[in-house]
Amino acid sequence: MTVADVYLQQIINGLSLGAMYALLALGFTLVYGILELINFAHFNVFMVGSFVGLGVLRLLGVMPGAPALAGVALVAVLLGTLIVTMLAAGLLGVAIERLALRPLRNLRGPAAMITTIGISYILLNVVLLSLGADSKNFPNPLPSWTMPVGGAVLRLREVLIWLVSLALMAILTWFVQFTRLGKAMRATAQDAEAARMMGIEVDRIIIAAFFLGSALAGAGGLMFGLYYNFTSYIIGFTAGLRAFTAAVLGGIGNVPGAMLGGLIIGLIEALGGQLVSASWADVIIFSILVLVLVFRPAGLLGRVAPNKS
């Protein structure tokens, strides 16, 4: 591999990581846009999502080391796993909102945010205590198809992550832009009191935001497992913080911003790791977080001043 090929390969890797971070960042942004709440439970909804994906694959008979699937069977297994994982993660998000966050709705201050940290630790410990601390092999039904791109290699798992993320982001964008519920979500994010006086049931909008964001995190968790071929109770923290950085970088509350921020963070991780060293990736990413907060607190696509009157 030439130097150029190495960087090309890192761009491919970075876009894959970025697609995953974008899925995760969207959940932060959807909830923040409506409640102005940073939902740290989201970190571990993602982690639980990857375990749900693992469980579904096993139920479908896809075991680690099993032969690769092809054709209709492959598509059916992947699609089925994706849908079940997203539903389960989405319902987990809704349950968190109903049980732990709604009772705090009218409290001012950081009570709700701190509660989300607590829930995050509960989820982490439940998985740790019930499934153990060792990382689990993630079954991978993907054939080992590869395609040379210049001197770099494109694998099927990268293509899969890109396609799934693109499709989900396209569906989300369509939903938010054009459906009745999506428009009500945007209205609520822009002026919750006025939205309520249009007859919008704001509680339902909050449920929708948690469901969609958590379902996307579930999809991200499944992608994580298929990409790295493992999962563990600990994966939520690093991926979650990076995705949160992506949401802030893009402008928290801003849907295209979360997608853009995710891709940028993924590319920085891959290319920065190549330029300096992989262990410096987080230093670079979180330095960027600090710089964004200092110099452009509204993020790349965010509004300069939030519209509140």
């Binding site: 006025a194 006086m197 249009m198």
Partner: protein, 249 residues
């Protein structure tokens, strides 16, 4: 009261509190079908709280609010909108990053999307040709007058029986204020009852049938608009050359 009598909205002995702050104090209003009723008063006298109490954003601590005879003080806001109450909010409060058309659509959020919806949209466009021209524009980029037209149009999209307007003249040039009040009269003539909070007492009493004057949370005067216009206390406090603001409450 105009001939087609019968109460549309009624407050009876309503009290509201924000924490320890007693805002509305034993307030009663009676708004008849087909009326324009103006609610006058200085800053912080409870005018906006009245609007929020009608919409269900503020709940009374005691007293009853009836709409078409049925008590509504425990109903959720969405249910009140469904029953036919629509707001024109203070400072317009359009959804600033959505288009004019999307804002109008959200006004009709509780109504089905059908021929009636298209009728309502055509009616708004006929009333405000300007809004039709601007329908694809982002609402936050409109001028204040255009935003007020969209805000009124958005309320009409709910096909309401009662429109509650909070300071429709706020921040508008005198010429625009006159246009807006003309439109309000037209809407009323087409059968919609208007309950309007207004600082601009002269304009409000020029189009209103009746008025209430609120001072530190209490109704201190009420009556026909013509008699309020002649009332020396009103003339001094709201219509005179000296703009006297009553004690803040």
């Amino acid at each position: 009261m105009p001939p087609d009598s019968g109460l549309l909205l009624e407050f009876r002995g309503v009290n509201t509190h924000y924490g320890d702050l007693h805002v509305l104090k034993d307030v009663s209003y009676a708004i008849g079908r087909g009326e324009i009723v103006a609610l006058l008063g200085g800053n912080a006298c409870g005018k906006s709280t009245t609007m929020k109490t009608i919409m269900g954003v503020v709940r009374p601590t005691s007293g009853t609010v009836r709409f078409e005879g049925a008590p509504i003080e425990r109903l959720r806001t969405a249910e009140r909108v469904r029953r036919g109450i629509a707001p024109v909010l203070e400072a317009r409060r359009l959804f600033p990053r959505m288009t004019v058309l999307e804002n109008l659509e959200l006004g009709a959020y509780t109504r089905p999307r059908g021929p009636e919806y298209m009728e309502d949209l055509e009616r708004v466009f006929a009333l405000f040709p300007r809004v039709k021209e601007r329908r694809s524009q982002i609402a936050g980029t409109l001028s204040g007058g255009e935003q007020q037209m969209v805000a009124i149009g958005r309320a009409l999209m709910a096909r309401p029986r009662l429109i509650c307007m909070d300071e429709p003249s706020m921040g508008l040039s005198p010429l625009l204020v006159e246009q807006v009040f003309d439109i309000i009269q037209q809407i009323n003539a087409q059968g919609t009852t208007i309950f309007m909070v207004e600082q601009n007492a002269a304009m409000a009493l020029a189009i209103a049938h009746r008025g209430y004057v609120l001072q530190t949370g209490q109704v201190v005067l009420s009556g026909e608009a013509t008699s309020l216009r002649e009332n020396p206390a009103i003339r001094e406090a709201y219509l005179g050359e000296l703009q006297v603001t009553p004690a803040a409450g």
